[in-house]
């Protein structure tokens, strides 16, 4: 909350606010957050969200490792990240309080359900004394309500069981928060009616709880500390908006890309894995858009089916997260050898092996760029935001089909679930890049290259007189037949490398996202860290520092001016959610003395992490709010 002033006796004004809803994984915190987001969007504010949930579907209730949280940062200006410090923490039980309290700013508000602070839950959360009854929360404004009882009383007329009534607590809390920021409830009421269409009693009870929470804020029952706020509308380009998650952006972008390429059908093959499965779920509902989804028996088969579909002339797409991408490695080699278009979406997550499945990281960059046997180059792209997921998916289709190459898109667990407002594009305004399947037999062989792109022709089986055989064995440059000739292998290795390198001529030059194209310091990022870096650089500039923000969307090949651009700065700093991967690629490629700045806690960068690093060069203090708490 940057500034505050009294605008009316009832409501104070805030530029932007960060709220975190936290409770048990069964308390419905994700839907509560999503509905608050929707009401925020409909009120015209800008926002950025961060769902943070445990890997366990239903961890034992009341435990710290079962805490599920949803953070939203909303307001009128400069909302580019989910926010560093939390202004309002809604803690539905003691475990949520102990896990999330560290991120609450001093003076921030914490709203608790007192009924949940019983001895049993306090013990499970590791409290020896009730924090609501001592001075341990003295630095915060604590609003204590018996949300359990208030909800139960409100929904009593609906005749629910006590367990069913308990499940309405989240809507009571949502109603209260919507009142606090002067937001409507209509969209949530609609949503509840649709969600519980077959259980109207449950729908009605939830709506009653929502209204009761709202009324609670409105009436004299509110405490003297509780006031309403107004958050301004964001200044945005005119047009029609909606919320979009990274998953939706990718799914719709793939459909748009398929249409732009004039391809009739997409075969999307996946295997269940967190956090990538959401893309499979989303596309499974888009049959009417020419999408065939296939849940394969394993990651290998998923990539194989996608490649088989590409061979047959469809848009072949496969998706996974780090460990699953590792299993697809062999098929990527075949796609590179046979020069077929294949789109691979990697929703990166933390750690080697299973790691931390629900936590985000950017640590698959090496795997994407170099993680294959032999010299096996391909194209790698990374979206910078949930909205950019749509554009990057279209670009991936363009590059894959124009250059007959696999393309890896590096999303991450944060982008997959986060949501932002999105200016909805019109199909008529989208790029067009129709593919042409080869049908002319004259002079044909399967590895005849386009002189400009070095791409080989795409032939649909079923085309008369173009019957041919391809495979993983090395093939002759001039005929496509199997060849073990040493010089030919050298020539083919170079052709494959030159083809990927040549994509650099066909992508935009690297721009500077913020600041001058030369100076003392360039902060270089990639992927989902865009918002945090951008905000940090803006703050540093406001402090009078000579600093610029460069964000790389094309990671293989790099934009052709990137090396020259980086050399125009005295220092290059590369913040990444990994142990230093882009920084090594930049150093290797351009011999620039770039410095790495790692964050590997499974949580996104905070703006202050990067501001501190820009200011002093010293590493920030160790995170206290990250893993320890959630691991219990």
């Amino acid at each position: 909350m940057a500034t505050s002033s009294i605008v009316s006796p009832q409501r104070e004004s805030r530029d932007s606010v960060v709220i975190r809803f936290a409770g048990d994984s069964g308390d419905g915190m994700q839907v509560t957050g999503a509905q608050f987001t929707l009401e925020t969007a409909l009120a015209g504010s800008d926002f950025s969200t961060f769902p943070d949930f445990p890997a366990e579907i239903r961890a034992p209730t009341g435990t710290t490792f079962g805490v599920s949280a949803f953070q939203i940062h909303f307001g009128g200006t400069d909302v580019m990240t989910p926010g560093d410090a939390v202004d309002v923490l809604v803690a539905m039980n003691p475990a949520a309080l102990t896990v999330e309290l560290n991120d609450l700013r001093v003076g921030g508000t914490v709203i608790v359900d007192t009924a949940a602070f019983n001895e049993r839950n306090l013990n499970k959360a590791g409290y020896t004394r009730n924090p609501l009854e001592d001075d341990s929360l003295a630095r915060y404004q604590v609003l204590k309500f018996d949300i359990t009882k208030l909800t139960a009383d409100a929904v009593k007329p609906h005749g629910l069981s006590s367990r069913e009534a308990h499940l309405c607590r989240n809507m009571w809390a949502l109603g209260l928060l919507l009142w606090m920021y002067g937001y409507e409830r209509a969209a949530t009421v609609d949503w509840l009616k649709r969600k519980f269409a077959k259980k109207p009693v449950i729908a009605d009870a939830n709506i009653t709880a929502l209204n009761a929470g709202h009324a609670f804020g409105e009436t004299a029952e509110m405490t003297e500390h509780m006031v309403g706020y107004v958050v301004p509308k964001a200044e945005a380009r005119p047009g029609r908006y909606r919320t979009v998650s990274g998953t939706e952006g990718l799914a719709w972008g793939l459909v748009a890309g398929m249409r732009a390429a004039g391809i009739e059908k997409m075969v999307f093959a996946g295997y269940p894995i967190t956090p990538a499965s959401a893309l499979l779920h989303t596309l499974a509902n888009l049959r009417a858009y020419g999408v065939v989804t296939f849940q394969a028996e394993d990651e290998i088969a998923a990539s194989g089916a996608a490649l088989g579909a590409a061979y047959a002339g469809a848009l072949g797409v496969t998706s996974s997260s780090g460990p699953g991408i590792a299993l697809k490695t062999e098929m990527l080699g075949l796609a590179i050898a046979t020069e077929l278009p294949l789109i691979v979406i990697d929703s990166q997550r933390a750690g080697p092996s299973t790691g931390m499945p629900t936590k985000a990281e950017q640590s698959d960059l090496f795997q994407a760029v170099h993680g294959r046997n032999a010299d096996a180059p391909l194209a790698v792209l990374a979206p910078t935001s949930t909205a950019d997921c749509f554009d990057i998916a279209i670009e991936a289709v363009r590059i894959a089909t124009k250059y007959m190459t696999p393309v890896i898109v590096l999303s991450d667990g944060y982008l997959a679930h986060a949501a932002e407002p999105w200016l909805i594009p019109k199909e008529a305004d989208l790029p067009q890049f129709p593919v042409s399947y080869r049908t002319d037999p004259e002079g044909f062989h399967p590895f005849l290259r386009d002189p400009e792109t070095l791409a080989r022709p795409w032939v649909k089986p079923g085309t008369p007189n173009l019957e041919h055989r391809i495979g993983g064995l090395e093939r002759d440059y001039d005929s496509g037949h199997i060849s073990y000739d040493p010089d030919n292998h050298a020539r083919m290795t170079k052709a494959r490398a030159d083809k990927i390198a040549g994509i650099a001529r066909d992508i935009p030059l690297q721009t500077v996202a913020l600041g001058a194209d030369h100076g003392k310091l360039a902060v270089v990022g990639w992927g989902s860290t865009f918002g945090a870096i951008h905000q940090a650089v803006k703050i540093a500039q406001d402090e009078g520092r000579d600093v610029a923000h460069i964000h790389v969307r094309y990671l293989s090949p790099f934009p052709r001016n990137l090396g020259d651009l980086l050399k125009r700065y005295d220092r290059v700093l590369v913040p990444e959610m990994n142990n230093g991967q882009l920084v090594k690629l930049l150093r290797a490629e351009y011999l620039v003395d770039a410095e790495g700045f790692s964050k590997v806690t499974g949580k996104p960068f905070r703006v202050t992490d990067i501001v501190q690093r820009i200011r002093g060069g010293a590493p920030p203090p160790r995170e206290t709010s990250g893993l320890g708490g959630e691991a219990g």
């Binding site: 380009r237 072949g316 089986p461 199997i482």
Partner: protein
């Protein structure tokens, strides 16, 4: 490439051969299989442009290079997955998977299981020579106990998998067995497999002349074959022997087959739609006769048929703007 236009109805077996030199060892059973497939293609009048041969890795996997159709030589064990993708993209294509005992039952065993249970409309031809040939002679998942190989110098102590029993257990709806050297029979089985809609699984007993020579001699040798093989045909009694003097019947009180005189009143009649009988036949091993022919054929709609039969499937013409504007939107005015 020269352009020749041939009416496919006129194609001869040689027209299905590519211009590539065949590079299997002299005397390899694969030559006979290649010949049988090309003959079957000609007799079926297959259109070369609509036909795709997909393979994994191994000696058998070189097969697509020798056909004048479309061909995709992929990676070890994965041909069923790639073929599934091809059929999902274009169900009109006629897709064959050429595989071996190592490719299809070891490294690709998982894919084989799932392609069969899904019932993707593919013709899957498994060359079983009970050995890894291309890697120079290691024991395979179908090698019998005691098989001596470079990796089992004291003899294999593993129990072999039965290809046909595996296929039946996976839910395959067409399971057949034939022999590389029994050309007319093999061609007949290939044509039956092609006619079957859904996954067709054919195990071919194939001789590896270099690393496992004569491993099936006790079944396929000219002298012993009549007694060592029962050629099964739908609706016909399960009889065998040089003068068809022996028959198979269900042993009283158990669930196994026994040999009786062909004249016995309760000699079984082959019913290829009976899965339980197919499983008994697939499990027959010496000294009982090995079952050769179509053990099981009981078609149901294929996987890709059902995919496209689902509501709204892959029409492709829906309005993208409507999708992007679905759910809640709001207008920002200047």
């Amino acid at each position: 490439m020269t352009v020749t236009t041939i009416t496919d109805a006129q194609l001869a077996p040689k027209d299905y051969a590519s211009d590539q030199e065949v590079r299997w060892c002299p005397g390899c059973g694969d030559y006979a299989i290649l010949k049988a497939v090309q003959k079957a293609c000609a007799e079926l009048g297959l259109q070369r442009e609509r036909t795709v041969f997909v393979s994994g890795i191994g000696c058998a996997a070189r097969f697509p290079y020798y056909m004048s159709t479309y061909g995709f030589h992929t990676v070890h064990g994965r041909a069923p997955a790639i073929a599934t993708g091809i059929k999902l993209a274009n169900p009109d294509l006629d897709v064959w998977v050429m595989t071996g005992d190592g490719d299809g039952l070891s490294i690709g065993g998982n894919h084989m299981l799932h392609v069969l249970r899904r019932n993707v409309d593919l013709n899957i031809v498994l060359f079983n020579n009970e050995i890894y040939g291309l890697t120079k002679g290691q024991y395979s998942p179908t090698s019998r106990r005691g098989t001596r190989s470079p990796s089992t110098p004291l003899g294999s102590i593993e129990n072999p998998v039965s290809a046909c029993a595996f296929a039946l257990g996976s839910g395959a709806r067409f399971v057949a067995r034939s022999v590389d050297t029994q050309q007319p029979h093999l061609i007949g089985v290939l044509k039956r497999a092609h006619a079957h809609r859904g996954a067709s699984f054919i195990e071919i007993l194939q001789n590896c002349v270099v690393f496992n020579d004569a491993v099936f001699e006790h079944i396929t040798g000219k002298e012993v074959a009549p007694d060592a093989q029962v050629l099964v045909e739908h609706g016909k009694p399960l009889v065998f022997g040089k003068s068809k003097e022996k028959g198979l019947r269900l042993k009283s009180g158990t669930l196994e087959l026994e040999v009786v005189p062909a004249t016995a009143p309760d000699v079984l009649v082959h019913d290829e739609t009976n899965r339980a009988l197919a499983q008994l036949l697939a499990a027959l091993e010496p000294p009982l006769p090995t079952a050769i022919g179509v053990l099981y054929c009981n078609p149901r709609e294929s996987y890709e048929h059902d995919v496209y039969a689902q509501k709204g499937a892959a029409r492709g013409n829906a309005d993208l703007d409507a999708l992007l504007n679905s759910e809640r939107t709001w207008e920002v005015v200047s």
